[in-house]
Symmetry: D2
């Protein structure tokens, strides 16, 4: 039984992570750390856990956390997370970091896009990006995992195999993504007030969203050639789900059919990626760790439609998948099926 | 052309009022007053007004308001509103007050339920309650109108005619109301954050909501006998609309059929109340100044189902209806049909 | 490993049941029966099961079903279900019936409310009603279970302990219930077309809903005195969840506090019923097999607010809970926590 | 007073048209024609019109319609509409056709995309496309108007000025559009059943939607050079609104700033198109005849975000705008502001 602590467990990814871990036969949640001074019972923060988990959220030092837990999931925001990570690792605790602190391998890009100093820049390029479909072996050996962003997961799973196989050009890729509102977190904001957000659809962060350099970096490293995408996120009036419509230009005589086959070949043995003939909806994967993909062709473009649950495959489910790999458990434990 | 000012125009009832008044051939909006120091253009606060109304929201004294406007709609919260009203009235400006400050006629009840001192208690019992279906003549003569609460409007229109006709007992009435989220206002709150509120239904303020004494007072005064209702509001994951399910016990040999006939007789000539055979939905009246009513019977109870749009018939539409009456305009101006 | 068949698996309760059973370590789904001639793969009917369950939906005789399965969950509609049940039981197959065919113990009431002849009327009064909180011992011994209706579950859990303890009067009880749209099933209907149903709230079946006699019967049998409730269902624009606002009159000097304590005492050891101080929302129990209860008092009435997920505790989760009891498995298998 | 008839008034565009015309001081609705044999009162089909319009929907011949009305709005589907139009025009009745029958000017394209024979092919190329922002003068003189499609309106207003000014290349344009569900009409379909559609986002008709050739044709004719766009529609779980994210490549040294200025210059005097600095949401234009536009730049692409209400500016509001032009009324009658 692995003793597990969660940092920053009061948000939506924290709740989802608790739900998954409560089902996990080899994990036991032993600490919930918070940065606030009050120590509310977890069921006060997440009423849906009433009667399910008898823990308080506590203000804990890294030492206290390492004493109580063998494994830490950090749901802290960027900057705050990296500060904790070094001390936890030094104490021998394994960490999966949900923040962006160790996703980018380039310090200048990090400081430019995130606007903060990085406390451990030398660790950036050495940290494994927790996307099992591409880095499974490295994840198995890792002590620290950078858990992927939600939008990047949907885009990379759709595009990376096509780039690696040179079926699409690295130029001119557009990722038009649409996300449910839980992706914006649990803090109130005027534009996320129910009557503002409900019955409304909007674009935001066009050309300025921090997931853009993350998508670039991974498509570049997996594809083996420099990629810069146009990334446009949108907000959908629903709780959860991401659909990314990815536009790319086939190379030479490559066809949509070949792209479809490349995706099928890549994901044939993957437990959590399904390539479909019909178009998937976000509801098809809601509450699951799955990604569904479909391919279409239109006027010289190949279009890959990709859907995930932003809180599961886009965050907490991916983290549990990584946890299973790092601990040597069957990869689908606590994730199969729903 | 009547020059009109709106106080506290940054909320949802303010926006709805502006929309209605922009359609009104005899009203011109000349001032939008706010309590904040910044003076944003109205289209910054309400982007849907872009290109429609070229006014800034300004911090204005009562004197400045009375100089610029003949008629004031106050969408300020209780307490804040009453402070302004006296000075506006003294300057000869007519006022429709959206707050609860002049709805209750009993000082002790006001101070008990609203927890503030009333600045003009002597005016409380003299102010006309702006429900034209019951107080049309008084409204025509009034200088100040207390615009009714949204829940009370839905409940009073359903029940008052039955009480007045002694068709139902004043005892044991239950008003189980359900409202869209715009009724909770435009300020962000954790429970109104989209992912908390969406896909969720809840009760709130059970037995403690401030509209309960307002319903009691009006049903008592119209019905001619003391009434105390059990009032239970609920929050529906939608923008607008109230449905009240009102349970009452018929007196003697009264039947649901007689109750239906009493409602039909009462509202036969009313432009904004329709009595229907089939059950109405909130969508049937969304965006309109109408109230739809239907009657059912079950095991010795008569059940009246009442629907309104909380922002229109429950607030801004009722205010424009009152404005029309006070100014001698046709009552349906700017309100008919949608 | 128990071999399990599901009849009528194409609807929402069928999908939810498959999801739960796929997590169940001692159940294996071996047959999905349908009444249609086509034999679609389950993932064509439920795309969210893509890659999760490799079965076709087939037209199967009772004999074929009994050959393949030890245990049958019937999600067929009333009438159709009873016809299958007798043959399955005769072949020694245990059955949990989701329909209303064996819920009512009174043939005349059944034929009156459901408008069909009952094929096995003699079995009606002998069938166990599958509400473990009240009939756990009987369920353990049963070969056939009538799985409770969704609305009745929410109402009975709220009110039955109060009636049994004589804390509330059997007279004048009102159950004002609100349900998400999945409760109306998967068949398209004009009023459930998205743009009709979305952003709208409505009452339906006021005084005529078939769950009313079911609530009456159970409250009467558990409470030990004749009960007839006024039951008013409403449709909430959301996928899942039921909230029932239950109004009752305390007897003698009974208080809301005593009612709260009676509920706490009754459910103290129940894994799936939580009594809370604050008011629950349907989201608090969405996706879970839990019922949350809270008590309020207003003007001589006690008000119990009850929330469940209509597809889980109100249908498929309750069925799995019953399955666990009938098979001697730990009662929370596959249900704890989410 | 113009006597107006509506054909096919039972759908969402029909209801919206009735609402707008009831506000129109110079229009009187004199006939509602339907293809069904029953003649329901309009309030049975549209309960929101209870007490507002006392007309039945009737099965009427073209002659009967022309006798009763000077002006016809046809909301019939393609194919059915063209059959009526010729007879109405022959009788001297002006017509605005909501269907696609007269939008395309190319018979082969029409028959290919719509799969039906065209009854009056010779009229196709002569019919004016009812987009006042580009064809105002022609609309004023027309007897028949092809009312634009909803998606095309959003895309053409965003892109046509940039193509005409040679600021963007005609090659490689992508229109990624998202629509509320009312755009799919009032007929029930499994994928539009509330629990299927709610809380779900999906792409559909990728590369095969009939609005694609309409967008091509108009951008080509206004832009003066052959354009073929990639058009990808998506379904948003909300009632109304379209947001189109339009990607184009600037020509030569053109900048996003110049594109913005070109849009401002083009629409400066247009009553219903606003060019904004901040990003618009569909809610900003819900219930209005307005289109809001904003421009962004990212990695060599210019991105125009365009929002309209699909039922108003995308259908019935545009039709009333055209009606006003054809009749010589002020263009904004019944449309300003909300």
């Amino acid at each position: 039984m692995v003793r597990v602590a969660i940092l920053g467990a009061s948000g939506y990814t924290g709740l989802e992570l608790i739900r998954l871990l409560l089902r996990h036969p080899q994990a036991r949640i032993t600490a919930l750390a918070t940065r606030q001074a009050e120590a509310p019972h977890v069921s006060e923060v997440h009423p849906s856990l009433t009667g399910q988990l008898d823990l308080r959220m506590e203000q804990l030092t890294p030492t206290e956390i390492s004493d109580r837990a063998d494994f830490v999931f950090s749901c802290l925001p960027h900057g705050a997370s990296a500060e904790m990570v070094e001390q936890l690792l030094a104490a021998g605790t394994k960490v999966i970091d949900f923040s962006a602190d160790y996703r980018l391998n380039n310090l200048a890009a990090y400081e430019n896009w995130y606007g903060v100093k990085h406390p451990n820049p030398e660790r950036m390029a050495r940290t494994v990006y927790g996307l099992p479909e591409f880095f499974r072996d490295e994840i198995r050996e890792a002590k620290l995992i950078a858990n992927p962003g939600c939008y990047p997961t949907s885009a990379i799973l759709a595009l990376a195999p096509l780039l690696r196989e040179k079926l699409v050009s690295p130029d001119g890729i557009i990722v038009d993504s649409k996300s449910g509102v839980s992706g914006a977190g649990r803090n109130t904001k005027p534009n996320l007030h129910f009557p503002e957000c409900n019955e409304s659809f909007s674009a935001y962060g066009v050309g300025t969203h921090r997931h853009m350099p993350e998508i670039d970096q991974l498509l570049t490293s997996i594809g083996g050639t420099s990629v810069e995408v146009v990334f446009t996120p949108h907000l959908v009036p629903m709780d959860r789900g991401i659909l990314s419509t990815c536009y790319a230009t086939p190379t030479g005589k490559a066809t949509a059919e070949q792209c479809l086959e490349a995706l099928r070949a890549k994901y044939e043995c993957e437990p959590f990626v399904q390539v479909r003939d019909d178009l998937p909806t976000t509801k098809d994967v809601a509450g699951t760790n799955h990604c569904h993909l479909a391919v279409r062709e239109c006027r010289g473009r190949v279009i890959v439609v990709s859907v995930i649950d932003n809180l599961i495959k886009g965050a907490s489910g991916a983290a549990v998948q990584n946890f299973n790999l790092m601990q040597g458990f069957p990869e689908t434990t606590a994730l199969h099926v729903f």
